[in-house]
Assembly symmetry: C2
Amino acid sequence: MHQPKDLQSAGLKATLPRLKVLSLFETSKERHLSAEDIYNILHSSGEDVSLATVYRVLTQFEHAGLLMRHHFESGKSVFELNHGEHHDHIVCLQCDHVEEFYDAAIEARQKKIAAEYGFTIHEHSLYIYADCTKPNCPNKR
Amino acid sequence: MHQPKDLQSAGLKATLPRLKVLSLFETSKERHLSAEDIYNILHSSGEDVSLATVYRVLTQFEHAGLLMRHHFESGKSVFELNHGEHHDHIVCLQCDHVEEFYDAAIEARQKKIAAEYGFTIHEHSLYIYADCTKPNCPNKR
DNA sequence: TGTGCAAATGATAACCATTCTCATTCTCAT
DNA sequence: ATGAGAATGAGAATGGTTATCATTTGCACA
């Protein structure tokens, strides 16, 4: 993990802050992290990276295709490693737990619909907001 | 349009700012409006409503079921009249033009997928970001 | 293997959308 | 009409994010 090569080939210098952020995504149990999450995790393990740098690095990684940015209803951006396979999300409204899924039928319908309306699809985001069934979910139902 | 009755039955007093905002949604050509849009439109027609009130009224209308709130990638909330029929959106990334669509196949698949993962769907949002074909769209392709 | 320069970082101010505060004004049941 | 409580306006405050700029760092080249 965190080979300088990844960054170099993405056209980014292998700086310490960038290596730390990338490594965090590769080792963290939680796939989906916000800028604040990253800032807090790094600081609590003694790795001081400025919040401004965290934001800059996340945006750069997004543009370089290393990360994907998501806008959940929380109002803040959430990032995950771009493993190259498109997928959509189910987000629990109570505990923010996220499940990923991919459905070929939905993808196909979307393409068809966009074409009908004369649009060229750039990307799409499908978020299903729901109540999950994790035992520790604060969801009361 | 803008009958006090609508507001009363929603449990809201028929105040001037509320009537103005509601009426704006009912008469505006653009179905999808942000708080700032509304503030600007009202002011440019001599109707002075405080921006804070616009935000308050929008949130109240959303809770009352009169409006629906959407989170597009623009970063700001966008509202539209709740006509009771669920639909999804295609948003042009260049000119913010919005098309609505409904696809029974996609709806069915979503329900099925959520069930497979053990979720109870609360709501969902499907936004397709694309390039539109409006003649006045600043989209360069 | 040192050196310079462009690029990256840190600290903090600025920004933007939105919410809060609180004194004043309005709505509406009486 | 009137009074109690709700709604409003103005501006301060907030939260997430971006911009500024002086300082530091990575790295191509000598």
